[in-house]
Symmetry: C5
Amino acid sequence: MSNHRRRRHRHVRRRTQPGAIPGTIAPDPQSSRPQMQAFLYGKGELVEHAEVQLSEVGGLIGKQPVLWLNVDGLGDAATIETLGNLFHFHRLALEDVVNEHQRPKVDDYGEYLFIVVRMVHGLEQVTSEQLAIFLGPNYVVTFQGLPGDSLGPVRERLRQASGKIRDYGPDYLAYSLLDATIDGYYPVIEAISDRLELIEDETLAGGDEQTMQKLRTIKHELMTARRGIWPQREALGLLIRESHPQISAETRIYLRDCYDHVVQLIDLIEVYRELLMDLRDFYMSTVSNRINETMRVLTIVSTVFIPMTFIAGVYGMNFNPHISPWNMPELEWYYGYPFAIALMLGTVMFMVYYFRRQGWIRLRWLFPSPEPPRHPE
Amino acid sequence: MSNHRRRRHRHVRRRTQPGAIPGTIAPDPQSSRPQMQAFLYGKGELVEHAEVQLSEVGGLIGKQPVLWLNVDGLGDAATIETLGNLFHFHRLALEDVVNEHQRPKVDDYGEYLFIVVRMVHGLEQVTSEQLAIFLGPNYVVTFQGLPGDSLGPVRERLRQASGKIRDYGPDYLAYSLLDATIDGYYPVIEAISDRLELIEDETLAGGDEQTMQKLRTIKHELMTARRGIWPQREALGLLIRESHPQISAETRIYLRDCYDHVVQLIDLIEVYRELLMDLRDFYMSTVSNRINETMRVLTIVSTVFIPMTFIAGVYGMNFNPHISPWNMPELEWYYGYPFAIALMLGTVMFMVYYFRRQGWIRLRWLFPSPEPPRHPE
Amino acid sequence: MSNHRRRRHRHVRRRTQPGAIPGTIAPDPQSSRPQMQAFLYGKGELVEHAEVQLSEVGGLIGKQPVLWLNVDGLGDAATIETLGNLFHFHRLALEDVVNEHQRPKVDDYGEYLFIVVRMVHGLEQVTSEQLAIFLGPNYVVTFQGLPGDSLGPVRERLRQASGKIRDYGPDYLAYSLLDATIDGYYPVIEAISDRLELIEDETLAGGDEQTMQKLRTIKHELMTARRGIWPQREALGLLIRESHPQISAETRIYLRDCYDHVVQLIDLIEVYRELLMDLRDFYMSTVSNRINETMRVLTIVSTVFIPMTFIAGVYGMNFNPHISPWNMPELEWYYGYPFAIALMLGTVMFMVYYFRRQGWIRLRWLFPSPEPPRHPE
Amino acid sequence: MSNHRRRRHRHVRRRTQPGAIPGTIAPDPQSSRPQMQAFLYGKGELVEHAEVQLSEVGGLIGKQPVLWLNVDGLGDAATIETLGNLFHFHRLALEDVVNEHQRPKVDDYGEYLFIVVRMVHGLEQVTSEQLAIFLGPNYVVTFQGLPGDSLGPVRERLRQASGKIRDYGPDYLAYSLLDATIDGYYPVIEAISDRLELIEDETLAGGDEQTMQKLRTIKHELMTARRGIWPQREALGLLIRESHPQISAETRIYLRDCYDHVVQLIDLIEVYRELLMDLRDFYMSTVSNRINETMRVLTIVSTVFIPMTFIAGVYGMNFNPHISPWNMPELEWYYGYPFAIALMLGTVMFMVYYFRRQGWIRLRWLFPSPEPPRHPE
Amino acid sequence: MSNHRRRRHRHVRRRTQPGAIPGTIAPDPQSSRPQMQAFLYGKGELVEHAEVQLSEVGGLIGKQPVLWLNVDGLGDAATIETLGNLFHFHRLALEDVVNEHQRPKVDDYGEYLFIVVRMVHGLEQVTSEQLAIFLGPNYVVTFQGLPGDSLGPVRERLRQASGKIRDYGPDYLAYSLLDATIDGYYPVIEAISDRLELIEDETLAGGDEQTMQKLRTIKHELMTARRGIWPQREALGLLIRESHPQISAETRIYLRDCYDHVVQLIDLIEVYRELLMDLRDFYMSTVSNRINETMRVLTIVSTVFIPMTFIAGVYGMNFNPHISPWNMPELEWYYGYPFAIALMLGTVMFMVYYFRRQGWIRLRWLFPSPEPPRHPE
């Protein structure tokens, strides 16, 4: 429960105080202190700084054709403000960096582009994390709240100079980061797909009381993924259509590929959402049918016994047969008891015949098929 | 009930009489008399007038680079007309000021912009209030029906000259007012989110008869918030896209930030609306399942007893065993009674076996689990 | 029933015969003969003709800056054709005038604008009526089927020269007519709102069998209002956006205000439609719950009695206790009868305990709360 | 059944073989041989050819200002190809002519326009038929599969030279055909409206088992009409907005009128679709309520008898009252039997009182109102 | 089950590793080795190479006006890279070729167009396969994963030079391939339509427990077809609207025809989806009605017997009639037993009369109509 509560709250909490000065940098108090790593590279060489001090950053700008500065942890307003001053970032952009619940977007600040996307994690439970990217003429600065990210492969490619990533400028690096972020959605969606299949199997085998709740959880996770990816479609579309000096024509082709992936992910999420809704409808109709059938059979059993009980009741009446020949002479018959039993059996047989004729009884209900029981204990 | 009635009526009541002259200023008779406060400021200084008389207003215009005149209470047509004449406001705009149920919008009257937004209040019950803003070359005039508002932080920043608000012109002041208004939605949405969680907890514990009604109330409040914020998206979009002489390029960047918040709020409301609908579906399926299960168990109990009662009925028949050996000889058997009891028990055992085989009975129904009872009294 | 039938038919009936010559003026045979009134006015003076003969119309055109000719009743093709010829109206426009089920629209015929709107009437039952407006350089000609209309206040303002209506040209008059028409929707929507509230109160008190039907009726009336107002949004939008020589810049501002009212009305109708749907869902879930609860309680009552009846049946068996000590010795016990009664009571107590433990019985069902009964006779 | 199957199949069958050469003219083998009629006319005169041979067609082109050639029956590929060559029609257009399931559309082939629309027929069961129109500089060629059509009035107007149809060019003729086609939808929609009303009356009187099926059928016919008319909106919109040399400005005004009718029809269909859905919901809720009420009353009857039967069972026990004063002394009481009856009556009265207090019984259930029975046999 | 699982997984699996270098060609390991066929042709002649080696491809380019190289099987990265280098294809396009789950799209790479579409197969179960088309100045290169395809008729037309396909350039060939792909959807949709009709017949005959599952399966297959065809609408629209040097004006007309087919297919799929949903609703309401009717009849049977059983119980009480004249004198009456029987019959007759009056019993329930039983075993 508490997990759930925390997750939902994150949709809305930890914004700057209502009415605060626009551009106020109010970090989440639970966020960790910033850690910085830098990659400086050009065609020929690459220098990696595993840990950069705030005072060193100024010296790194412009030393190589491309500087990638990554900041993990947003817990210190002073650090972020200092960085903002060094790179001349607008205060509103910095405010968005620390308010980690921005919608994915692209803001053009003239000298640099400010890009916000969401990464998703988690195969068991989907969570999302904000990645803020500043793309300038000779740098890329990224901010994220937590140390882990989906960007490992990009670092590896930089180190190994594979895929010519070092031959291109900062725009290609920004693209690579976006692409890695979007690629990170695939395993998450795949895990959801696997869980959905498990539930489908369970449902076909009858389902249990947790089925509805499980489907509801998966739906919320699909929606979390969707909220992360959906606005990226529009943001990427803007990046591709509008001309920005920071982005070369060649990189634009790569961004178009990225855009295709986003559209494909949205389609996939839609497909699974629809499968989920169908599964829910199917489960509910299954449950309803099963209960209805049970009730029907039980009612039929009762109905068959009721006339028999009535006959037994009749012959349990205490009319005195000795007073008159009209008073229950059956009681004194030689075959009175067999006659009563026969009357009862006849009633049952007539009712079974009648109910079958009406289609209310089917023989297989009484002789259950040898298939494995559908609702094992 | 009466509360509810009043709230709903406010959607439609208290408009100018149908067919009245356009531009008729017909204040709500229940509205209080206007109270005015003014801030006059420029880069260097700030003069605050806590209470301004109508006759003083003319003298305040143009005395400082920026004049902010705030009017609380719309109950006096003459005051509003006099103000309108002083600032040359269009009669239609003044009519909208006193008809407090305008949709949020931006009207460009050439010399000044007329902006209408809605503020929301209330953590227990959401209400909304209209804020009308006139943005001219050297003034901002705001009108609102009730004294309380979300604008306190802006006043504080003016007094303390924090965030350089005094360095900018009236456009930045108008932006600050819009921003404060929009920020006022966050705590309201957060409170709704908290109430929704409470109901979710209740529902998972079984829910009660008020659950549907509570969900319905929250839905209506979400819709109230949505109606307040949704048209602001379009209005702000117009402010940003179209060029107005009253708004500087720098302020436009701030308005873009404002726009992002509006979009984020709309997303949040959509998220909670969807959660709410899911919760409603879940609650209804829970209730339906519980009742069905109950009915099933009860029906099974009846069904098990019916054949036993029938057997008892048979041996309660009054056939005379002395007349013939066919007439209920069991009655005269030495072990007749144990035989009948055994017959009954055998029937029960067969039925329980058969029902379990069909999956209609589960043992745990009979031996309820040690978990806390789900529907405490 | 017949009322209903008539109303629905009006959606489709009384069009010109399929395949008729375009521009055929085929008046509704049930429509009354045209009655004409005219207002001639300029800045200084106003002449009102309460009844105008067809032969006089030609002489009125151009006598004053503005001529407003209103035609009530469309039952005579000749009159309408003569008027059409006098003012040079296009035959297609005249065909639309007498086919009173046009969608609201604005057609630009160069020399004049042809505007069709719908007025709504009726607080008990909503009906709508077509108003056709021709706006020319120095005249406004209006056609309507029935004498009553929403235009009374405009006539009054003309007579009293209030609101400077006589200072403006025919475009302002046309605007005033549109505005009065749109204002006429407010009391209608308000009446629907009141009826909806009444039904809400009834529903909270349990509702009755008419509730569904009443909700359905209100929904249809909301839809009637919506069909009348919705296309006016588009039509007014066109009037405002496109430049027409007949409409001055000043009037355009007034039309914008009109447009705001239309959007507000559409919003209101949407709000009430949603409230209505919610109310329907709530009512249906209430009904379903109430019936389910009833069934459950009744079933529990039966279930509690069934084992007791069984025990009574057992001791009603006729086994002869004198034959053996095994044959129902209880019958001969000194406390046999109290033992049987105790057995029955014990069974009931166990079942009540068990059912309460399962959450199937709640004590308050048996001792109804002192609150007023929810389903009074 | 077979009717139904045939209708549905027509959505998809009888296309050119998959992968056939584009422009293959593969007529429906069941289509009849083409029959041609021609109208040649100008301002002054009209020549009608009731039956035109293929060899004569070439000689007719250009003899008069306008040639209207109508082809009924598409069963002969050679004829259609020959006509196509005479008029220089594109093969793809000819392919569309014989594949009679095109969506309504307008294709501009430069020299001529190719217009496809759908006519609807049938007051009992709605069917639709394709009408293909080629509009060239001095001719209109129309193709349809079956002899009957909605174009009779146009022929009549040509013959009688009424409405000046002969004064205009082929564009006005094409407009007249479109208009007649669209006018043909009105009686069809009206018939559907009448059937819907009948069903509404039936539903208010309780409905029967065919109601759902009837509603389903009407819905499908509405959808058939909608599929026929909906794409004509877009097609006509294109005709009006884009400038085509074949269409004069005057005709464009007429086409605008045509467009208005299409929009009105779409609105009407939407209205009836909504009425139908409401009616379905209402019927389903009526049925469900009726069954629930029945079940409730029956259950109450049972519940009232169960305790009485129990009491009778108690006094049917065979405890020997002679053995002890504790053993059913009531059996030997002077007023024992009246006491038992009184006990039973008391139980019933208590239960009826209790059930009424709970709102489960209403007296009018027992004494049905004198209104006509709602569910007559 | 396993089939199903495989199908669903294909939506998402087998993408390049997350974070891999963009343009990585990672073929599906289960894909077969590429097999190549080539057609070289111009107006006069055609050379067909049934099997082309990788080393021969370079020599084929430019030998004839048009080269069509088709590659079946995508299991070898080296082959695809070599081909990409020969034709100068962009790496991102090649990556899309082997990731066979692209959305249909058209990418303009300047020198050539890259077109992705989906073919559907299967009358029993719908599957889809990707077809990637590179359209260059003098070549068309196609890639597909599996040997079978819908392109056979195009090959045949090339060989037989029918339809002048050899007179046109590669753009017409690409069009022909697209057209053949789209034509391949028709038989698939038709098969779905046939299956839907079968289910409709079953449903009208009562349906069985598989009906819901079958409908669900068909819905998923419709969705598969829809996902394949829907994005082709947008892609083809782009091809038609935007000017590409590779596509001639004449071919553009053919593409427009293709576009019409896509729109028609989307309409058809929508029609069948709606039919399916209606059928599902109808089936569910049928099932629910049937069960409700059954329950009602059974309940009525019980209700009729309950009072009779009660009367029997009363006369089974053991009050001693000899003690007083008040104690069940009926037992000693001469016609006591017939009186009791008459009492019972009277009760039954009253109840049947009352129930019929209320509309709860209809005679035809008891005497089922001679129509064939609706739910045969």
